[in-house]
Symmetry: C2
């Protein structure tokens, strides 16, 4: 029965040896949920996990079927990627982002997780004086873990207080130390769903060039800033990118969200030609390959997995081609998240919640995959725990590097009216308790 009592909740956490929800990993939250659902005897509303909430793209599925029948499972995929995927990605990036990245500079990865991990691993070897990754927080917690695993130090700040022109001074103060090898952010942002403005991208790009930091631009939610429609190939507006303001960039492009293809673990590391071709004596000495891109392919990808599922590469190639040809509109396909987000925000604000990350340098944030919610001045731990008692699971902001209190709400699993009604009832029950 919901809500769980404080005692039941404390008992569940004690049994799982979890002291704090706001410091728990997503996996631990999932474990708490499972136990709590079992105690309550009712399913929870799952706003914690970022699984796609739509069916997988049918063109990808068809291409994988065909690849399986063509015998590709017996053949090692080329570690630099199958040519049709590299070519399709190059055209896709031109069509929707207006970037010119040749096929040779595009390399598949086992999800963007492998992309950012592999990039950080390589960055850790390029220059002994550059030993730090800079994160524009909030962000995706395992990307911080990646830096630690490869032995890079971390610098970070919460962008909330440094939007617009204020970003320049903050970035300059960090980058001027000269020890930053890479800058990582996701745009749109996970969890805050903020989007960097053109002015902010220009600042980041200019300073990345000035201080030789390589920007890892994670486009997991590409095109899902629905305030403008970037879904028509080769037609403006194009998807914003730091790549317009620096040659020091790498785009991480994943099939997981834009094609609802997370299960097959296929994404792309798209290096600017300038990054790919940069030569380092450190890499020559360590890997016997001076060029950054070659070292990534033949030094890193070779060693960490020897490539990416052969059939999944064919699937992603087909989906990218279909998008660039205008046969599918991946932006429209994802617009369902916008509608779920609008409804969910209304349900939350009706219950007395507010948006935490609410604007992009003045303009209200977009509706999309995530949003952030706070309740009065309640701290994250209490809020997350109280909502869990009421059958609503979420992630709290401090775990994402945010300096603010509140929750990350993922709308992908809110599929029908019943879900929204249940959510509204539970949030009301929570709010009534606070009255």
């Amino acid at each position: 029965m919901l809500p769980l009592t404080e005692l039941q909740m404390a008992d569940i956490m004690s049994r799982l040896n979890i002291k704090s929800l706001s410091e728990a990993t997503i996996r631990q939250i999932v474990a708490v949920c499972g136990a709590a659902e079992s105690v309550a005897g009712e399913p929870f509303i799952h706003l914690e996990v970022g699984n796609p909430g739509l069916p997988p793209n049918s063109i990808g599925i068809a291409a994988e079927h065909k690849a399986l029948d063509n015998g590709v499972p017996a053949v090692y995929p080329p570690i630099m990627g199958v040519p049709e995927l590299k070519n399709a990605a190059s055209r896709f990036l031109k069509a929707f982002v207006d970037l010119d990245i040749p096929a040779r500079c595009i390399v598949p990865s086992v999800g963007s997780m492998q992309g950012s991990f592999g990039m950080m691993l390589l960055l850790s070897f390029r220059d002994p004086a550059k030993d730090t990754m800079l994160y524009l927080n909030p962000g995706f917690p395992p990307q911080h873990l990646q830096a630690r695993l490869v032995g890079l130090k971390e610098a970070s700040f919460d962008i909330y207080n440094y939007r617009g022109a204020a970003l320049e001074e903050k970035l300059e103060s960090i980058l001027s130390k000269g020890n930053v090898t890479g800058i990582l952010y996701s745009n749109p942002n996970n969890p805050a769903w903020t989007n960097l403005t053109e002015k902010e991208l220009e600042i980041i790009g200019r300073l990345a060039t000035k201080y030789d930091a390589i920007v890892l631009e994670d486009m997991a939610y590409m095109g899902m800033d629905f305030r403008r429609d970037c879904g028509t190939p080769f037609v403006e507006p194009f998807i914003p990118t730091v790549g317009r303001y620096t040659d020091n960039y790498v785009v991480l492009l994943s099939a997981s969200k834009i094609f609802s293809y997370a299960g097959q673990r296929v994404a792309l590391v798209c290096m600017s030609p300038s990054v790919y071709d940069r030569r380092y004596t450190t890499l020559q000495n360590f890997l016997a390959m001076p060029a950054f891109g070659d070292a990534y392919v033949f030094g890193i990808v070779y060693a960490v997995s020897s490539g990416v599922s052969h059939s999944a590469q064919k699937a992603m190639a087909a989906m990218l081609d279909a998008a660039a040809d205008g046969h599918i509109n991946f932006v429209d396909d994802c617009r369902e998240y916008k509608s779920r987000c609008e409804k969910a925000k209304t349900v939350f604000t009706d219950a007395g919640f507010h948006l935490v990350y609410d604007t992009d340098d003045g303009e209200p944030v977009s509706d999309g995959f995530f949003f952030t919610a706070g309740y009065r001045d309640m701290d994250s731990e209490t809020l997350q725990r109280q909502l869990m008692r009421h059958g609503v699971a979420s992630i709290s902001l401090p775990g994402t590097g945010s300096k603010l209190h509140g929750l990350r709400i993922c709308v992908s699993k809110l599929a029908d009216d019943k879900d929204f009604e249940t959510l509204a009832q539970r949030l009301k029950a929570f709010a009534d308790e606070q009255a």
Copy 2:
């Protein structure tokens, strides 16, 4: 036209900026081959690449088709693996290796490359005093690269001179230093196709326990020591393993060769329960997870790729189950390599070649996926280059950590009589030149 002249060969290598074939990576050898084929105007005999030479297992294909249609591409795979794969692997290991490894200790990896990389990455954190990987050479070159990437030192020796009882003193001399965290070998051996005897496995196991080194036993070519038939489930003889002699072991089990499924990049890291459950304060401090196995799943796998292709996991589960149920006989399916190997060895010895790694502590080595060939007292570089001139591509032994001169011959691509005839003609032409 074949043979290429010395001048043509020198020109090709100079164009590709490759000074030495015996020190080149496989990828560079492939590039030389491509250029040489183009100059010669004739296809080469490819004995260099270890791709499966058989069609992919049809039960795997069918299971992947079904998984694709069931919507798994939209769903993140559990990072610890789908339950049916973990359960199938546990039963498979019991059926063919007679090991008791519970499902919870078995974790899928993106090929065994990710398995050994991830294990080494984790081993690099478990104990600061244990900073070295020990390799029983010869071996697979990128596994040495993996240690360097994660910051582990390397120790190694060529087992050729330390077979049988001699292995004990050699291992003792290295392990007694106390700095070895892991021991890696493949059995059957790539490239030498030697197989460790029960006596040798006992020595390795006993000393691994004594000095707390964790053995990574790479079973990429599992069951392919065709001198005895280990293809009947739950019936002796079982596949040899160090796991009978120590609890300090991890088996790497790949679908690539035994099911001809290399393209889909799916394998398993199978930890002994004792290894999985070992607790380290170092891991508690670094990853907030004390147990070795938990740290591997939620610290390493999560960060390096967040799991393995969802449909490929279903495929491997189906193939393992079919084997344990006796519906397929993966050992018989691979026996074609034995027959290709017998024929190839005859062609080579008829042309005056000899086996380099010829016995397992006295007993002639098995016929299988690879064998090693030398020619008189010719050094590896000269031999590899002269055969390349004559249209026969191979890998040389020094690059695999061997102290001996000769070549690794992979028989998988020798598919029909025509291939063997062409090979015989070219080896004869080579031998005639030496007369």
